[in-house]
């Protein structure tokens, strides 16, 4: 008899890691963005989306609130805000 032992690639989408956030979430200001894509590269959940300047945002269903995007942004165009704020 076997229990659940293996998983196929892509199955991490099943884990809604947004529930792991502990109070803070990133806010993409979309003002001084130069589209360097550092926020996309550094995100451990691969949940930052965007293409042109000032179009970047993230999927809060998966964002764990680690703050790496805000930390790495060279233009300080991402800030960490309280969970309840807009």
């Amino acid at each position: 008899m076997f229990g659940p032992l293996t998983s196929k690639p892509g199955s991490s989408q099943a884990n809604k890691t947004g529930s792991w956030r502990m109070g803070k979430k990133p806010k993409f200001l979309q003002k001084n963005c130069i589209a360097c894509k550092m926020c996309i590269l550094v995100c451990p959940e691969n949940c930052v989306l965007g293409g042109e300047k000032n179009t970047y945002h993230c999927d809060y269903v998966y964002c764990k609130g680690c703050g790496l995007c805000a930390e790495i942004c060279p233009k300080a165009d991402i800030m960490m805000i309280e969970e309840g704020e807009q």
Binding site: G3, P4, L5, T6, P9
Partner: protein
Amino acid sequence: MKKFLEGSRAVAEAIRLCKPGVISAYPITPQTHIVEELAQMVANGELKAEFVNVESEHSAASCVLGASATGVRSYTASSSQGILLMGEVLFNIAGMRLPVILTCANRAVSAPINIWNDQQDSVSMRDTGWIQLYVENNQEAVDFHFIAYRLAEDKSILLPVMVCMDGFILTHGIESVDIPEGEKVDKFLPAYQLPYKLDVENPLTLGPLVGPDYYMETRYAIQQTMKDALGVLPKLAKEFKEIFGRDYQDLLVEEYQVKGAKKVIVAMGSVCGTIKEVVDQMRAKGKKIGLLKIMCFRPFPYERVYQALKDVPKVAVLDKALSLGAQAPLAEEIKVACWGKKKAPKIISSFVAGLGGRDITAESIKEIYRRLNQKEVSLDFIDLKPELLKEKYG
């Protein structure tokens, strides 16, 4: 072919015939000769395997875990502290259902440091999810490795198997051993096929994180599979006998003069040879005594043990390991097997002997049979030296 071989050498010959693709081990007394011999075979080109030298037993176990997960037959061996250092990975190997085979050259555990034989190392790993087989002599040490691979790789089982052989007594003991023909082993043990494996062409995660939603089912499945293994072993014993000619009964227990016996000792490992000698001597004098040898300790064959012991009035259990502060590990199982039954032994006494390599002589065994004339012993040490004990530290 019959050969006069050291136990370790005989095991290495058996492993060569099993054709593992990856061997990884870290040397530790008394396991060293096994892996030394295998390394030599690989270097000489007699065994086409990857021998991975590592910096610790934790790495050795991790290495065979990885190898097994890619679908390669894998082997490792260790003893004592090495087995303990592997501990974390042993749980992982079983949890990931990888059919790794490990030889445990049984040795006492520190402190105080002691390189000689008892069974504390493997017995301490009884809850890892590994199947544990204990051998009496070097012929069993050879044969049980073929059986171990067959059992581990059975599609309905897929659990690792630890073959436990007493350090020095067997690993360094020289006996006449039949090393079977390679064709016979190939017939009994076909090439290894895993139903799932790590493969870059077909990506898969083994052993991922699971939450409370999934974990319990993985443990339940192992618990059920352990019971299934009790059913597979007798079938393997039958098939083994057909090919190799040696009869291991049901591979769970061996009854030696148990029928009609008034007193029986239950034990496992090489001490069973000494007990058989004493049984023969005392049976010749008309004493109705016997031995129940446990070959499979995990899964534990409770029903089989009960059937063997139900008509025996007095039973002594001989442990070569302890669960400090509680009942002795094997005695505990025997008591559970007989608990709550209407027809059961009147006395089940528990004795511990041979810790840290203290010889268990024929006289020690006779002492145990004698002690069965008295009231039940909850746990006592045989051949203890009270003169070495004192109340003050130092």
